[in-house]
Symmetry: C5
Subunit: 292 residues, 5 copies
């Protein structure tokens, strides 16, 4: 996620110069053609077409934004649930269960890192394995995060069997595990369900068509100013189109996705401090102003 | 659900060539007529009509998308709840209840397959019966999935009667059953409640009318370019109309519905691995890029 | 609710022929007047007026649809909660409480029928009284459904007093009663709260005004085609207006309301089969394709 | 809230005649001026300005409606929670706690009346004090309703101390108190948080500006029909503006607010009948069709 | 938050005079140029550009408003949860635990003040430290509010260990802590997640471009009235743009943010009165009508 208050001109230029240049070249070609072989092109269909396109693109970028924001909300729930789990582990389990407390909290840290890797389609990195024993059975599961959560459930039930907590306290902790499982399920839903194919294909097709038609419709009235005018208008349509593409997958490991690494670090700090361990500093944006 | 990043040109062509051809033929007829018997047709009502139609279609495809997305969300809840049930069965029930654990988990797998068949209006297939005994009373119920859930509730209460779990643990598991029943109820609501009849009838009527009127309104200003212009504009309206039709029933067993089979397989894998059984591989999209 | 895939032409014609005829007559009058006493009428205000009207109508039919859909969702919750109550009654209460189980389930069936009658402003019919004893105190309450729910609460507490369930199991069942009460409250909210008066008055006023002004604004440019053009455009505005009226009260006992009778029957079937009783068949749409 | 099916013409005329008259006078002045000193005024900026204004007003009346509907939803939750509290008080507490049951139910009635007075910025009326003893400590609190809820919590805990209910039943009742506190908090949020200042200032400014500019922009094309045309168009903008003002504060003791008194009476009836006391009749709309 | 019913003209003028003046100067320059060196500039692209811009700005101010309103909702939940915690502390804990009750309530007051400071990126002020002992371990945490919540959890568990409450009552109080943690997490999510960069960059760019193009497109038809007309239209676009900037961060310590200080004071009053302590008066708006 780009977090600089105003994105650097560089960043913007780097992203849009290519379509901008193509657009401008096309607009110049059309204008030149018009002055060589004049043609007439009424603007009415452009207006009709434009208003339908605006609706289409508006809906799509709206949906993409909602997916992005839902993804952020789900990670927010994950942060909350991790804190709740740590607070309960620390407070509900007795002094003598010091080791079990630590294990629950450290496995939760491993869990969020594992989930991050799964969502970004990466192999589990050292952040995952750091807090796990080598032979942890979760590592053999297709869904490692799921396996780690099962392990936490087992640890909590083990605490009950030893008489450290009663079934009511277990139920309270189990409710937090349900929150965690639900947040994970929601993230996997976003990851595994692209927008319907129509919203991936038609907006792109129609936007590019619009960019092609714009100078043809405008040249008669705008004359030599056509390349400028239709490049600016075309840029706006391309910008809205790009928003849809950038936000639609919030866990994509691109500059526009959500800062999963930073959020995992936040959880790590909160949880380590909750059990009194030293914590690493929070992640900072890189030089380009991107927080990963 | 079509999951290929960019849908094949073939797929798109196959879906739209028919209306496109019809549209083009009509546009050519109108244009030809105009050059034989010139007529005048002002464009104002087209603009008025068009903007009202855009609103109408926009609302409809929006509602259809929300139904589709809600259907996906409900299946997501089902995946989460199934995992929660399996985790609780495994952790809360004692070692000696090994058979009861397995029964709860395997019946949950049968449950989601039965629900899938019900939603797609299919007979229960072998995936349903595979994990059930022949005389399971649920198979005689009008709503088989419901009967299976009742059976799971009975199994959990049986565990309580034997003293394997106490009533608090039972309440925690019962809360998961409530989640499952609510998700199922939501899916049946989507399946059994079509959009209001006005949203099924009028958008189709008005869109087709628009396609008929488009060349008449445009021919005076566009001349020979009319067939091209009004086919493109008409295609856009037809595309938005089609989205509504494709997404409105997310459990329809069509290329545009939700991948219920793949999600049931995901649940099967997660649950089998949770009890340490060998699991089948996840479902992959077919050659046309469709995940069922 | 009209459930036929494509509504019969008859149904549609029956609903719209009256305004359509009136509209056409007016359009013909205006056109005739124009050819007798020519007048000029610019179209700009029509465009301005039209776009504001589209916004107004769009908002209203959107709100009406949301009320309709919320009503359906609340009945969905009622179906779920009824199933949950039946499952818990059957599983949590012991064998010896056979009569109490039956009473809870049968009273729940009476409850949903009573609620249906209340929402449709009908007297409680035989479906309500069928499962109740004559002197049931609930029948004397202003809100019969409420009284029946209180009775179920009493029956559950009675089961606790006899030692059939403990307070934890009672709390689980009480939570389902809270769900039921909340769904009922939501339905009564929809029934008792019409749209704000402005949304009932102004859209109707402005739509009718628009239909009056349409031919005046169009006749100058459309000439003899005016009656056709402005009737079609007017029909669209009237159609959107009608949607708002049809959907705004989802419990209205009209062809466009929700199929409460059919949903009550669904609950009846599910609950009777859950206690092993014979169940009636589901309700089918009537000849006109309407499911009540 | 105005509940008559179609609001009386009187009511509408009374509300809009003033701006309507002012608007008409201004339109006549502009038209007269035009015929004395002709001026040219292009209509393009009017269209641009109009479409931006429509967006602005649309958003505002949408937000206002959502606040109004959320306010209604919160009172709906209050009705549900009051019923749940009464049902639990009656069923969970034993026969011997007859006085405690009555006290909890009657204090809940006082509570909703106190909340109604607070939201309408009125002093607590006799409906509040009717069921309270003179020296009730809640009456000394800044937030009386809050104090009454604390009292109910104390009464429930007292029942537990006497052994009438156990802590599980207490937890169930406490959960209802949390529901009540949340509904109250939501209502206070709506009451204390006006729309952002921009949405209060700019829409009014721009709408009035629009009304001033309308005849200037239209007179050239509409001639003598200008006063009529621009009064009608202006009325529409004023109507949408008024909706925002009317609905934005749903607890305002105006004809357009929510019927708090009637809803409090509904709660009173339900609760008194639940404990077998005689109940007053429901409130009816006054002669002007307004339900307070 | 500005709470005066109608914001002072001063306030508005102070905020908008700068862009207004710049806009006007530019409009005058363009108009003057036109009368010196006439040029032609068609208005069509302006309409197209304008409608796309309206969509863009509309979406952005909509999102900003939703963030602002969600922020308010989360603080509302915090107020509710604080009241619930105080009520439970007072009622569930026995008389002898007087000190523990006070500690829980006073720490909750410190907690909301700490959270306010964190959200506004301020150092914890005396309102935070007033109720804390010097060596409170929470003050050493990166997230002080989090540390205070952990402390409350410990105090509640301590009450259980001493036998003042049982685990069921503890679970009820723990559920309130989960509510508090979730509200805090939601606020931090809003604070730490700006709108996607595209919504920060492009709307500003395109709005400024629009203001530059407006007089060029209008001067041909509006002549000498251009500066007036395009300043008014430009002001509207700038106003909508400003709304987005003002509301996007609801915890910003600016005149347009949420009144966190006032809400913390509300909590302080409610909680102090709940334990019978003297409470300060509520915060009032300052002379400029701003409630902080």
């Amino acid at each position: 996620m780009i977090v600089t208050a105003t994105p650097g001109i560089k960043q913007i230029v780097r992203e849009v110069w290519k379509p901008l240049a193509l657009l401008f070249v096309w607009d110049v070609i059309v204008t030149a053609t018009y002055f060589i072989i004049p043609f007439t092109a009424p603007s009415l269909p452009l207006t009709l077409f434009g208003s339908a396109l605006v609706l289409f693109l508006g809906f799509r970028s709206n949906s993409a934004y909602q997916r992005w924001w839902e993804g952020r909300g789900l990670w927010g729930l994950m942060i909350n649930a991790s804190r709740n789990l740590a607070r309960q582990a620390r407070n509900l389990l007795p002094e003598e269960a010091r080791e079990a407390k630590r294990a629950i909290v450290l496995h939760q840290i491993a869990y969020v890192h594992a989930l991050r890797c799964q969502l970004r389609r990466q192999k589990p990195d050292t952040d995952v394995t750091r807090f796990l024993s080598k032979g942890d059975p979760a590592l053999a599961r297709a869904n490692i995060a799921n396996g780690l959560l099962d392990g936490t459930g087992r640890r909590i039930d083990d605490a009950r069997r030893r008489g450290w907590i009663d079934t009511i306290q277990q139920a309270a902790m189990e409710a937090v595990l349900v929150d965690i499982a639900n947040a994970q399920g929601g993230m996997e839903r976003l990851k595994n369900t692209p927008l319907p194919v129509q919203y991936r294909f038609f907006p792109t097709l129609f936007t590019h068509l619009m960019c092609l038609l714009l100078p043809i419709g405008l040249v008669e009235t705008m004359g030599l100013a056509t390349p400028l005018g239709s490049t600016v208008a075309g840029l706006m349509f391309l910008a809205v189109l790009a928003i849809g593409d950038d936000l639609v997958d919030p866990f994509d490991n691109s500059p526009h996705d959500l800062p999963l690494s930073a959020m995992c670090r936040t959880i790590e700090i909160d949880l380590l401090q909750a059990i009194g361990d030293p914590a690493p500093p929070p992640l900072a944006p890189d030089k380009a102003g991107i927080l990963w």
